[in-house]
């Protein structure tokens, strides 16, 4: 008789611990959901620092959300003048130092990220979520949320989310040992009721730059559709990454068609680009990175195969080395 309460207590405590963990997990995901929604539905204007590989840069962002959808302007405040303008139609990158303008069509965004609506449990298989202490960024109170990956094929994330508006104020991508790979942090941010059209105009006109427009002969297949009409196959993809988009496009009018595969684990995305190389071009091999974005390139049967993604180098390399002709 005496043991019963103890056994019961043990079971109860264990269950409680499980519930508490599950609740913390759910709470953390709730923060992420609200954060994603906030970043798409709020008006905000601010300055942030972006740090990677010993480099520190300042940038400004102005984001307007209205009945016509999102409009955004992001510009560099240090180094070469660069600007990105995005609305529901197009993304325009004006690179002052390159004297070039790249125009791509924008992809639809929902305030509710696809990653959370349908695949919450699956994200939990590859990341642990936890809520940390309250901190302060740009003078505003924010809540730490941490995502730790279960394997070395993806980065961890340490986020600080504004407690009032749920805007992401600090974001850190971390490597396998918890070391920071890339960091972004607001130094000032405001939430204006209205953002004028003037504020969303670029400083750089780009009129006399070289323009590269994404042409219109794009055929995009629905995610998960049969990709049987391709002669390519991607054999190795780390567990948890699923094909979310597949299609063929041209990056610009003069360039050959590129076959594009997009894999996502709900948080990180990896793109595989396959493009016919000009006759005689046989050498294309290497790796490079920008911030936490890694790229791997190789030649397969006269084609350039390039894998890019905000995942560790070994992930893009693994995927890139597994691309085969059927």
């Amino acid at each position: 008789m005496n043991r019963t309460p103890v056994a019961f207590l043990a079971v109860f405590v264990t269950a409680l611990a499980g519930i508490t963990t599950a609740r913390a997990d759910l709470n953390a995901r709730g923060w992420l959901e609200r954060m994603t929604m906030a970043s798409r539905t709020l008006n905000y204007s601010g300055t942030f620092v972006y740090q990677h590989g010993g480099q520190l840069e300042a940038m400004q962002i102005i984001h307007a959300a209205g009945s016509e959808g999102e409009r955004e302007r992001l510009m560099s405040l240090t180094g070469p003048k660069r600007e990105i303008l995005r609305d529901n139609q197009v993304v325009t990158c004006i690179l002052g130092d390159r004297e070039s303008v790249l125009v791509n069509r924008s992809r639809p965004r929902s305030p509710f990220p696809t990653s959370f609506s349908g695949s919450l449990p699956s994200i939990g298989q590859y990341y642990d979520f936890s809520i940390g202490k309250e901190d302060r960024v740009a003078g505003l109170a924010c809540r730490m949320v941490e995502l730790r990956p279960h394997d070395a094929y993806r980065y961890g994330r340490r986020l600080c989310i504004h407690t009032d508006t749920q805007l992401l104020l600090r974001s850190e991508l971390t490597g396998p040992k918890g070391e920071p790979v890339e960091q972004m942090m607001f130094t000032s941010v405001s939430f204006p009721k209205r953002i004028s059209d003037q504020e969303l105009l670029p400083d750089l006109s780009g009129a006399d730059y070289s323009w590269q427009l994404e042409p219109d002969d794009v055929s995009v297949e629905e995610p998960g559709n049969d990709v049987a009409d391709t002669k390519w196959k991607v054999i190795h993809v780390p567990e948890g990454f699923t094909l979310t988009d597949h299609g063929r496009r041209r990056m610009s009018a003069h360039k050959p068609e590129v076959e594009h595969w997009v894999y996502s684990d709900g948080l990180a995305s990896v793109s595989v680009y396959i493009e016919k190389a000009p006759h005689g071009h046989e050498s294309y091999q290497g790796v490079t990175h920008r911030g936490a974005l890694n790229a791997y390139g190789t030649m397969v049967g006269g084609y350039y195969v390039t894998v890019v993604g905000e995942v560790p180098m070994q992930t893009v390399e693994l995927i890139g080395k597994s691309v085969r002709i059927r």
């Binding site: 993304v91 069509r105 974001s171 006399d208 323009w211 493009e275 290497g286 790796v287 790229a295």
Partner: protein
């Protein structure tokens, strides 16, 4: 609002008949004017119709616009005869070439026997971590760099639309890649 004059200019640009004086002004306006930029989206439909209507030479309206825009490029990027991201054999850092060899050795060992198999999810949770001292973006040959930049911008839109960290993908595009 787009007036008839602008429409005519767009049409002339599409036909490659816009004069040298008007062209930069229109390109500038194209950049600033939302309505005009929305036209880019509509080019998809127009382009398809044009192609469907027998533009067999592959020079639909959208493509002609792109040709017109590309012709405005101030200087063409030099054509590189070969496309090495790395030039380990051409006198770049020895450490880099050693690192590359190490990467290739490790990964080729891991990839053995993969050909012909159906898509397999990798489940080992502790893959070998390779230390790679990569070549930075801006040391890469111009043609390769240009291709990578295109991919970077393209990928960023997918990453931003699917992921949760909206600003980060584009911060990488805006980021300074010069040597320091």
């Amino acid at each position: 609002m787009m007036n008839d004059e602008i429409r005519e200019q767009l049409s002339a640009l599409a036909d490659d008949e816009l004069n040298e004086l008007e062209r930069p002004l229109l390109l500038g306006r194209l950049q600033r004017d939302t309505a005009l930029r929305e036209c880019l989206g509509r080019y998809q439909l127009i382009g398809e119709v044009m192609r469907g209507a027998g533009a067999s030479a592959g020079m639909g309206i959208a493509r002609r616009v792109q040709h017109a825009l590309a012709d405005d490029a101030p200087a063409a990027v030099s054509q590189a005869p070969t496309q090495n991201w790395w030039k380990p054999l051409a006198g770049l850092a020895v450490a880099a070439s050693v690192a590359l060899v190490a990467v290739l050795a490790v990964t080729s060992g891991r990839q053995g026997g993969g050909a012909g198999a159906p898509m397999i999810a990798i489940t080992d949770t502790a893959p070998p971590v390779t230390q790679v001292s990569e070549q930075r973006w801006d040391r890469i040959e111009p043609q390769v760099e240009k291709r990578l930049s295109g991919y970077l911008v393209n990928h960023s839109e997918y990453a931003a639309s699917r992921g949760v960290l909206g600003v980060m993908p584009y911060a990488r595009v805006v980021s300074d890649t010069r040597q320091r």
